[in-house]
Amino acid sequence: MRENGFSIANPHPRQTDNVQKLGVAVAMMGLLPLFGTWAGINISGGWMLSLSIACILVGTAIYGVRTYLLVPEGIKNTANWFDPLTNRGLWGWAVGIVLTGFYILLYWFPEYLGLGQNGKTNSGLIHLFDPLSQFFKGQPASQWFMYGTLYTVAILALGIKFIYKYRHSRYHVVRTSVVMLSQFFLAYFIPEILEGLNVGAGSQYYGKDLKNFWPLNYYFFDGWHLDNMQKEGTWGMFFLVWGIIGFAVLTPIITYFVGKRWYCSWVCGCGGLAETAGDPFRHLSDKSMEAWKIERFLIHGVLAFVVLATGLLMYTYFTGKDFGFAINQYLFFALLIGAGLGVVLLYRKNNGFLPSQKVIWTTAVVVAFVILYFLVPNLNEGNSTIFFSSYNFKKWYGFFVGATFSGVVGVGFYPLLGNRVWCRFGCPMAGYMGLFQRFKSRFRITTNGGQCISCGNCSTYCEQGIDVRAYAQRGENIVRASCVGCGVCSSVCPRGVLKLENGPDGARLKDL
């Protein structure tokens, strides 16, 4: 079969016309200042950033309109598995490495993106965003301002492309419009304006994204965050009360009525990026039973981790006491390796018929990564103990889950593992809502009688790696904790078999 679309002998290249080329060229010109400044070139003047963003938006729109509006509306998955960008080919790896590198710098080495530290002014990439930051809030850009702006631009630009690609489906048009507006206003514009209006003046930062609830926003219940909100009168108290209601009341209720999709594919920022920028990679998710086993272990593990870390911090916050004990690092490493071995052996014992390669690799990578995280600084400092405390638990969660998992792996690996790695394997918010979706919700994907022909489009294009076909071909409805309700399974089905809908929850599973 033709697997390698990078062949120079490819006799049937896909044709791009001049207008498409123009769109790509304009978008690439928009990207140039970003890469240029990333490489260390200093560009001042607000016009350059505005021009860059305008080029990205306009260029992508031209490309999207031209590519999809000239052909009859319908599913556009042709050549996904031939294209080296979308079949884990050369371009896929290249983009994956650039993205991963960007996230590593962003989280741990922002000075290489130009962040001015110790009183120095910004340079390079972050400096490019200074004028916009000054405009919003009268201060130079941070790496997070730069990141938030680019993130929003990516969702808007590629959201437009997505809408043209799926223009035959009003579900996708409405959903994508909402997720774009949500990112622009709730995650970006309103918080930045509030900062600019000096909301929070006299106190330190606190989160102002109205939809970023705990546990996705894992620092919400941190002592400093609670203090900062309380210090600052009405607005701060509003965000405190809203945040608690949001996670404890709104989330379960809305999830009961419409499933977790209201969050994951309609308003969430991570979901927003996955559905727009990540759409070309959705078929790369792993559909195997083994991957599903890993998924359930990891996502509920992260959920337990954030509950534990938050609980300990709250305990310390309200009692003023920290538990805290030191443990020899080698003992800890031995326990960790033992636990890893235990996981693998237990898996093999219970799933004799399943392959175990991915379980072994995942466990090995996680264990090795954790060991390195402790070992390297300890070696430098000549230390050999690890100190367990409320504060450290939170710090570890921030490093392993907040930065490494959700950012570096979550987005950096889009072109290799698919666009929902974080949402599927890690996100504690998704894990939390998944429990409701699985056990108490009106949401289901209905299977239409006996029409399924087992073709596999639904499973292939499920970004969450759900083997949709396994249910559809048995005539069963799909009720799965991980479904984010993107609706693409229903769109790609050639026989009209699948429908996302909310109905009486007692009858979600046809075999009840």
Partner: protein, 445 residues
Amino acid sequence: MEHIVIIGNGIAGITVARNVRKQSDKRITVISAETDHFFSRTALMYIFMGHMTYQHTKPYEDWFWQKNRIELLRAYVERVDFSEKRLYFSQGEPLAYDKLILAVGSTPNKFGWSGQDLAGVQGLYSYQDLELLEENAQHAKQAVIVGGGLIGIELAEMLLSRNIKVTFLVREKAFWGNVLPKKESELISRHIREHHVDLRLGTELKEILPDANGRVNKVITSDGEEIPCQLVGLTAGVRPNIDFLKNSQLETDRGIKVNRFLETNIPDVFAVGDCAQFDVPPVGRRPIEQVWYTGKLQGEALANTLCGNRTKYEPSHWFNSAKFFDIEYQTYGWVHAQMQEDEADFYWEHADGKKALHFVFDKQTQQLKGVNTFGIRLRHEVFDQWFSEGQTITHALEYLKDANFDPEFFKKHEDEIVDKFNRENGTAIQPKGKSWKRILKAVMG
């Protein structure tokens, strides 16, 4: 332990294997010359177009077979010795069976056209056909497809995805004209042309001509026109793949003759799926059914029989579906290409010409007999219930909103449809709102 041997790893054979395993501990062997594992034949086109890889078309992961103790044998059966109960292969030792299931599927029709065996001329049914197409497509800038049915239009879509120009010869005056009524056929024809396929209705293939190397380089049509091409797709239907069984004790006609229990004339030998031909078909159905779900239903019935619970193949109301480029088609009950004497109909088409609904009902009793739908998805169970209850066209229109299966936020057309019916028939039907209670009653039975 009884040894059940199944020739053919398509949907029918695999359904037998899975269901026998569910009910028993019998030894099960599935033989195929085509692929190591069961895959969805209906998805071959998506492999070629790059929507999926071969791996994605397998409905079960590879560990499934071992876990369920279903032995898979990749071999080509050359001959069956029915009296000795043995299979002889092109290579290797013969295999003994206690019960033999023939689930050997189909092969593309060839009608003795001159040039039909040239290089670059092929049908599309098997995995090997797909591999051949991959090779043939390398040489092709223009292709001619012969035969206006479901495989023909799929092949057209496949070739267009590789920027190969397609001329589509259809013998009938309308696309898929032996199945679709005229207006539906016209709707699909328009859509085919919208995709820049050169659709030639009422045109037959006369001759396929080679170049100096013996590869196809043009066809001549019944109009005497020469069409240059480097690839010819023969998609004028399929027939049971039973040549290796001819001249044996097994009674065959077009397919392997079976009764409604899928039993052949030889004890302990059964046939199922595409290759089975019923001596007395179920009411309103054809003697040979080459459809995915009928293979499944036949397989389930046969598995029961093999496990001691002799079960008749008893399908419910006819249904089917397909996709023509971007337009989805579903059908429930019978809508024939030509309306029958006692039938009346009601046709609605959307202004954009890509959505349509066609109801057929009894002139006298008004009882609903079938529906064709294009671009609008309809709930299977709801129509099944209406047919079983003998509901009328009036009832169907009144409760049409229950049957809508389009995704959320899609434009609804029920009011417009019922309006049109009322205007044409002087009725005053008021469409009722969607009711979950009624829908669930249909689904749960």
